[in-house]
């Protein structure tokens, strides 16, 4: 019974994750986006801890800690700082208007669930149905990257995608082997660091973080 209770919590967190993904899709302001991202990280860490506790997979605690440290504390802090320094917290004009985006997003969710259905049924883990949600949040994050026309939201979309992946790893398979998780975390860290350097360069060169300045390399 306790297992089903945990399961319900994990499912709830999964739903929260999906909800946040949708919220991010519709969020116009960068600061709001960062906050949502931090909340997503929190939900992810929480679900990881619950899975770790319920299945006694101890390495998942490390994962959870890493997530918490990186995605809830370090990165949002770093992004807030960037936004302040670069002074780019203006309204984000998405490429496709938000209602349309949301409609596409709902279609994606249905698609993802359908895709995950046959797989989830053969899974040995208790949290199998979350795989569909993980896939859906990955696809939603992808969609967000497509619709945003500024550099920072695009990167946040990228990281949200990472979150979805992480969720898939923990919920569907009780986490990847530790070495891999560490490696992934390291990569993400380095990526964010590199991105930070990048933002400054972009800002320095283009006087703006708008991606429309970066459409010159093309076939004439």
């Amino acid at each position: 019974m306790s297992l089903t209770y945990h399961l319900q919590v994990v499912n709830l967190l999964a739903a929260v994750l999906l909800l946040i993904a949708f919220a991010m899709l519709s969020q116009r302001r960068i600061v709001g986006l960062i906050t949502l991202f931090a909340w997503q990280g929190t939900a992810l860490a929480a679900s990881t801890i619950i899975v770790a506790w319920s299945t006694a997979q101890h390495h998942l605690y490390y994962s959870a800690a890493l997530t918490l440290a990186l995605k809830v504390v370090v990165m949002p802090w770093y992004f807030f700082r960037l936004v302040r320094k670069l002074d780019v917290d203006r309204d984000v004009e998405p490429m496709i208007n938000i209602p349309t985006t949301m409609l596409i997003g709902i279609a994606l969710v249905i698609f993802a669930f359908n895709l995950a259905l046959p797989i989830a049924q053969m899974a040995g883990t208790v949290t199998r149905s979350t795989l569909g949600i993980a896939l859906a949040s990955v696809l939603l994050a992808f969609l967000m990257m497509i619709t945003r026309s500024k550099a920072i939201p695009q990167v946040i979309g990228f990281l949200a995608m990472e979150n979805g992946l992480f969720f898939a790893a923990t919920s569907a398979t009780y986490g990847m082997p530790l070495v891999v998780e560490l490696g992934v975390a390291l990569d993400v860290l380095v990526a964010v660091f590199v991105l930070g350097i990048f933002f400054f360069h972009i800002r320095e060169t283009f006087d703006s973080m708008d991606l429309k300045h970066m459409e010159r390399l093309r076939e004439k």
């Binding site: 895709l115 040995g124 990955v138 082997p177 070495v179 490696g183 390291l186 060169t205 283009f206 390399l217």
Partner: protein
């Protein structure tokens, strides 16, 4: 033991150059580390040739067989010659005022780390670590692509980062699915992602999951291979980065990404039965890449961009051949990987010096290379001829096998191949010929250009067209059989 040297040397080199890389002899140190890596790769290769495939480290963290050891050797070799080439090249760039000493330090450090991550990706036995290393290789090169800090370079690097990042993220999802399927058979824990273990049980893996996993892996790693329509970062990154980086990106990174796809394909084929989904998808992507790249070559005005498209074309051809499968086609694909690396990097070496001479990458402004600098001119000319698949250069050997095999097994694909090769030839040769021939007013270079690498590569390519040493052939054959041939 060699494996630790192999991975350790470049990482140490990266560290060293990052800390003390602003000295004047940094280029030489860079070359020396590359040489050491090459020696380590050589001893490792010799051992594999002697003793056959081996597992190394911990619970078999590293796995080396014929397939990856040949790529290891190739990577180490091209990395070394590129380091040799970059020595005078970067000096000239510095003289031209395009780079500062600090950036040169960044360049050298990243270069070593890039090589290290590629070698790690090749040697690791863990599909997860493979992913980590691939991502690492991307990260190591992002800042190299934007080294010149021009708007175009930044744009290229940004696109490179985002597109490859997203691609790689999808590959991670594929890896998770793979783990998901393997865990059922092998149980949770580290063993479930080891390729050797997976390979052992591949027939028992759930086909539905592997099918999905392969789609994610193919789209993910395929982005790095530069398969159309996932290729868009590639021409930008190749054209705007410094030429040595173009050479290694084109010559090495694409191979490593394709290596990852192939490792996945072997598992999927095992689960689904050979000649099924994976092969067909790869053939489709390969053919599309060949055709679109050939058409795009026609439109280029920038020389490096043009050769970048040519890389897409060749990676498409290799992917097509791998997709076809069978001992001959796989053999040809492996051979083509080798030859493409050698030839394309040689071309980029020659192109690098040519663009330095002309002060531009616009082909219309580069004329008559053969007159002021015959070696650059002939290097570019012969390299182009070689990459276009004209014998006796080796690229022809693999194209010969691929095309005849395609005619035999999948005749429907050949009209596309014929048309694409024709268009590619017309476009590329038509553009290179006036660069090499004719009159010119271009000045000479301030430093002696490093052309030994060009001709060493071309000589190797020539040799492989006429004579493939028995042990090399054996390698290829073993590797081809590993790939399900």
């Amino acid at each position: 033991m060699e494996i630790y040297w192999l991975l350790g040397i470049p990482l140490a080199g990266g560290l060293y150059l990052a800390l003390w890389g602003n000295r004047t002899h940094a280029p030489e140190i860079n070359a020396a580390f590359s040489l050491a890596t090459l020696i380590a790769a050589g001893t490792l290769t010799a051992r594999i040739v002697d003793e056959g495939p081996m597992l190394a480290g911990g619970d078999g963290w590293f796995f080396i067989d014929a397939f990856n050891v040949f790529l290891v050797a190739l990577t180490a070799f091209v990395a070394f010659t590129t380091a040799l080439f970059s020595r005078p090249y970067m000096r000239i760039e510095q003289d031209h005022g395009r780079l500062s000493a600090a950036r040169l330090r960044l360049y050298h450090a990243s270069y070593q780390i890039f090589i290290g991550t590629m070698l790690l990706a090749l040697t690791t036995n863990n599909m997860g670590i493979l992913w980590v290393a691939m991502e690492g290789a991307t990260l190591a090169t992002v800042l190299l692509v934007s080294l010149y800090r021009t708007p175009a370079a930044l744009e290229a690097a940004w696109k490179y980062f985002i597109l490859c990042g997203v691609g790689i993220a999808l590959a991670l999802f594929g890896t998770i699915l793979l783990y998901f399927a393997a865990e059922k058979v092998l149980g949770a824990g580290g063993g479930a992602l080891l390729w050797t273990h997976l390979n052992g049980v591949k027939a028992q893996l759930e086909p539905v999951v592997l099918q999905l996993a392969f789609v994610f892996l193919l789209v993910g790693y395929g982005t790095k291979v530069g398969l159309v329509p996932l290729h868009n970062w590639l021409p930008d990154a190749h054209a705007e980065g410094p030429t040595p980086i173009s050479a290694v990106l084109s010559g090495l990174l694409l191979n490593v990404a394709l290596y990852a796809v192939m490792r996945s394909k072997v598992l999927v084929d095992g689960a689904l039965g050979v000649h099924s989904l994976a092969g067909n998808l790869m053939m489709g992507f390969g053919l599309l890449s060949v055709v679109v790249a050939a058409l795009l070559i026609k439109r280029q005005t920038d020389v490096k961009r043009m050769f970048a498209y040519s890389s897409i074309e060749h990676m498409g051809l290799i992917t097509f051949a791998f997709g076809m499968g069978g001992p001959v086609a796989s053999f040809a694909a492996l051979l083509h990987m080798t030859l493409h690396s050698l030839t394309k990097s040689a071309i980029f070496f020659a192109v690098g010096h040519a663009t330095q001479k002309a002060g531009t990458q616009v082909m219309d402004d580069i004329r008559g290379l053969i007159k002021t600098n015959p070696t650059i001119g002939w290097g570019l000319m012969l390299g182009t001829v070689a990459i276009l698949g004209v014998p006796p250069f080796g690229v022809f050997a693999s194209e010969f096998l691929i095309i005849t095999n395609a005619m035999h097994q999948h005749p429907w694909a050949t009209p596309f191949l014929l048309a694409a090769l024709g268009v590619a030839f017309a476009s590329m040769f038509g553009k290179v010929q006036p660069m090499v021939f004719g009159e010119t007013g271009l000045p000479r270079l301030p430093h002696q250009p490093a052309l030994a690498p060009v001709f060493i590569h071309l000589a190797l390519v020539l040799m492989l067209g006429l004579f493939i040493p028995a042990y090399l052939a054996d390698w290829y054959r073993q590797a081809a059989s590993l790939l399900g041939g």
